[in-house]
């Protein structure tokens, strides 16, 4: 079941991903516009709306970055059209400039900003608790605990945002965004997609207007706090001398543990969905008559600090425990909450499993890899070889995308990987302060459009001698193949080389990364150029993401011809399986290479890698004819 399969339904139960449930809630609220830049774990929210946009008659786009997406939705909401934008936690950093001002302008119709946080950093560079954005921006933050509640809450928040004329933040985490659960469907109304703009002084945040707006914002905040006391999603239930305050997914764990640990009739629970601000009156009611408050939440003590502050201001002297009960880092798990509750209620610790001492076989780690056919593999293989052979001292400033996997052996070609666009940005600095070092920044097409352009303009204007490698696989691959401005849609796209030449880069080459001879040649040429001219050079490595190309081949009925290794010619040198490292090529007991026909995608990229010409297609194949799928 996907969101698409539910759009004809106005009742019944569907099994939806947390993210799909949020999208469904937005549709049931009559959303008119949605926009986002993809990022795990947020991508399926706008992704599923994108799929149904024409069916339900709403406008949905993948924007170049989170700030751009935010602003588009903000304008819609200012014009009276309900809008949703969704981003991963670090995406909100990119959009934060807009976020702050949106609290000052307010909105005319519902504007929901979804922040999908990633505790434990399953696919992120940092662990950041975006509930804290509520504190700095004066925008209320809400956090549901399961897909069903996520759908209902999203729907409610559009009304709430409209009523308060204020944006809201809906915060999820990986354990909600990527959880599937049953969701009760409701009707989808006809949405309003055309708005009307009525100018107000508060929309033009010049200092004279902003000073007025600042005072209005503080007054609005008080009325938001008053309204939240009535929020139907917050609940106080059960009774006992201990109050457990639990927000978001933590409440799901607590609910189940009450039964498991036999605590159901010994505790009072405050389930919080409005995590910032915590409604004061509700908290005071919940705390009445208890002698201990236990706050269970993920990452930073956002709720706990509010609880302490409210109790202290109200001169209520009750013991509060929370963050010190478990490690601050990483996601809250069922296991962690269980151990906290066992300690708080003096229950014996969890019985250990018999074989918990572990196994006798050592299990190797399995980091993610470039896929079979990935154009990045021959590129990094050849760069590693070229750099080793030519003994070039390099710093590789990497970026966010599949190519960050080149950090791992055997390539080891990412010395830094920090944030979107950070490659060219750090490259500018490295090239100014490092001597006798070739600075190479590596950035994908989507990331380049997202945040690489200003840094490249800077490199040109201020003359920073770095090699900028733009890896153009014509899509935003890592997050699930959302279109980037280099994705051809009916022939429409933004050509990278025009853009790069347009800002004044003199050395620009477009190279097919499968052509490893050319990769070497152009790279060495660029090394010479940056050394002598002291200006930036741009190498565009262009070939489609293999997963996209192969899908298109399969859809067109093309036969995928696997390659084989001629065992007579193979000497067992291991270059193909050790240094090229395609998952389809494995070493036999005799060290000779073998190709797994189930994993081989017939790309042929390994052919020029073999010094003994031992690799060939298992039957004749015309790669020239197949090129149209790859470019």
């Amino acid at each position: 079941m996907s969101l698409r399969r539910t759009i004809g339904l106005s009742s019944g139960v569907a099994l939806l991903l947390g993210n799909e449930a949020i999208a469904r809630g937005a549709l049931e609220a009559g959303i008119g516009v949605a926009a986002a830049y993809p990022g795990t774990p947020s991508s399926e929210i706008v992704g599923s709306l994108y799929e149904v946009a024409s069916d339900v008659g709403i406008y949905v786009e993948w924007s170049t970055n989170e700030k751009v997406a935010f602003e588009l939705c903000w304008a819609a909401a200012l014009s009276g059209v309900r809008a949703l934008t969704a981003m991963k936690h670090v995406g909100l950093n990119v959009a934060s400039d807009a976020l702050m001002s949106s609290a000052y302008t307010g909105v005319r119709e519902g504007f929901v900003v979804v922040s999908a946080d990633d505790p434990s950093m399953w696919s992120s560079q940092n662990e950041q608790d975006n509930r804290l954005y509520g504190l700095i921006s004066y925008i209320p933050v809400f956090e549901p605990e399961n897909p069903e509640e996520a759908k209902e809450l999203t729907k409610f928040l559009f009304d709430f945002s409209s009523q308060m004329a204020h944006p809201v933040i809906l915060r999820t985490t990986t354990r909600l965004s990527h959880v599937r659960g049953p969701v009760n469907l409701g009707p989808i109304p006809k949405s309003r997609t055309v708005g009307e703009f009525k100018p107000e002084p508060g929309y033009a945040l010049l200092p004279s207007n902003s000073r007025v707006r600042r005072l209005e914002l503080l007054r609005k905040w008080e009325s938001i706090e008053r309204e939240l006391v009535k929020l139907p999603f917050n609940k106080v239930y059960g009774d006992g001398k201990t109050l457990i305050v639990a927000a978001g997914i933590s409440h799901a764990y607590v609910s189940e543990l009450l039964t498991k640990l036999g605590l159901a009739d010994r505790v009072r629970i405050l389930k919080l969905v409005s995590v910032y601000p915590v409604p004061k009156d509700l908290l005071l009611k919940a705390v009445d008559g208890v002698d201990k408050v236990v706050v269970i939440e993920e990452l930073e003590p956002v709720v706990e600090l509010q609880v302490r502050s409210v109790l202290s201001a109200s001169k209520i002297n009750v013991e509060v425990v929370g963050r010190e009960l478990h490690e601050r880092a990483y996601e809250v798990t069922f296991e962690k909450v269980e151990s906290v509750l066992r300690r708080v209620f003096n229950l014996p610790s969890t019985p250990r499993k018999k074989d918990s001492e572990g196994g006798r076989v050592s299990i190797p780690p399995r980091p993610p890899l470039f896929c079979s056919g990935c154009p990045y593999r021959p590129l990094f293989f050849e760069l590693r070889r070229t750099i080793n052979q030519a003994r070039i001292k390099t710093v590789f400033a990497g970026d966010i995308g599949c190519y960050s996997l080149a950090y791992y052996p055997p390539y080891r070609l990412q010395d830094t990987c920090v944030e979107m666009g950070g490659s060219i940005g750090l490259g500018n600095g490295f090239s100014k302060v490092l001597e006798d070092t070739v600075v190479v920044s590596v950035i994908g097409d989507s990331t380049f459009y997202h945040a690489g352009i200003p840094a490249l303009v800077n490199a040109v204007y201020n003359e920073h001698p770095q090699i900028v490698m733009v890896l153009d696989n014509m899509v935003t691959a890592m997050t699930g193949h959302q279109p980037s401005p280099s994705t051809r849609v009916d022939g429409r796209y933004v050509p990278l080389e025009n853009l790069v030449r347009g800002v004044g880069v003199e050395l620009v080459s477009v190279v097919d990364p499968y052509d490893i001879g050319k990769v070497r040649e152009e790279f060495l040429k660029a090394v010479e150029y940056v050394k002598t001219s002291r200006k930036p050079a741009v190498l565009i490595f262009r070939r489609k993401c293999a997963l996209v190309a192969l899908d298109e081949m399969r859809d067109a009925g093309e036969l995928i011809v696997p390659y084989i290794v001629d065992q007579q010619k193979c000497t067992g040198c291991g270059i193909c399986y050790n240094f090229f490292a395609c998952p389809a090529i494995v070493s036999g007991d005799d060290k000779k290479a073998h190709i797994d026909p189930d994993l081989c995608v017939g790309c042929g990229a390994c052919v020029p890698v073999c010094p003994f010409k031992a690799i060939a297609p298992s039957k004749p194949v015309d790669q020239g004819r197949l090129a149209k799928y790859w470019f």
Binding site: K353, V361, R366, C371, P583
Partner: protein
């Protein structure tokens, strides 16, 4: 080679409590499809269900671990170490890695497929099939299934996940076959449906046969 067969597992005591299932696979093997099929079937059978997994980098041949929880009322999307009633494994290394999740007496249904992680072949520390199977058998009630062979014979080499689903159902009788078939038709694209269903059926037969072995 077969592991020890869980002979004492008759029909599952139908949902008197939450049933926890862990699914271990390598990205691209269809572990997520398997978890979705189970979850949809559970909803069709009228249960509450949660599946939890971390997506993101999992497409790219990395380790993928899914949690499926089925019962009358389920709140948490994951469970603790030592709380899985079943471990469904599509690959041996990943199944051994996930073993600590399984409770004492839990059942592992594991495909006999080995995919050596590149890191292991670089470090020359590849575990062997027989070692891994011995480990699974020693530490759980394991059923090792020639899932790839069964899937290939059914005409769809990529349907080993459906074979494992069939074996699991054959052994556990947890859900209704009608719902499972409906769920499979929801998650498998049309052109692969017939052979995937065949793979499921063959797995089911296999599961029933190992269940009745004395």
């Amino acid at each position: 080679m077969l592991g020890s067969v869980p002979t004492r597992l008759s029909r599952w005591p139908v949902m008197s409590r939450i049933v926890n299932i862990a699914i271990a696979s390598v990205g691209g093997q269809g572990g997520l499809t398997l978890s979705r099929a189970l979850a949809i079937a559970a909803v069709l059978d009228g249960y509450s269900v949660r599946t939890g997994e971390t997506l993101g980098m999992s497409q790219r041949f990395g380790s993928v671990l899914s949690y499926v929880r089925i019962g009358k009322r389920v709140f948490s999307p994951t469970f603790s170490t030592g709380e899985a009633d079943f471990l469904l494994g599509l690959e041996l290394v990943e199944s051994v890695r996930a073993l600590p999740l399984l409770r004492d007496g839990g059942v592992a249904v594991v495909a006999d497929t080995l995919k050596i992680p590149i890191s292991a072949s670089l470090e020359k520390m590849s575990p062997r099939v027989d070692e891994l199977i011995r480990e699974l058998t020693r530490r759980s009630r394991a059923v090792i299934v020639p899932a790839s062979k069964i899937a290939r014979d059914a005409g769809n080499p990529r349907a080993a996940n459906m074979v494992v689903l069939g074996v699991f159902q054959g052994i556990s009788g947890l859900l209704t076959e009608t719902s499972l078939r409906k769920a499979i038709s929801e998650v498998v694209p049309g052109k692969w449906l017939e052979t995937s269903m065949k793979a499921f059926d063959e797995g089911l037969k296999y599961g029933v046969s190992v269940r009745t072995v004395p």
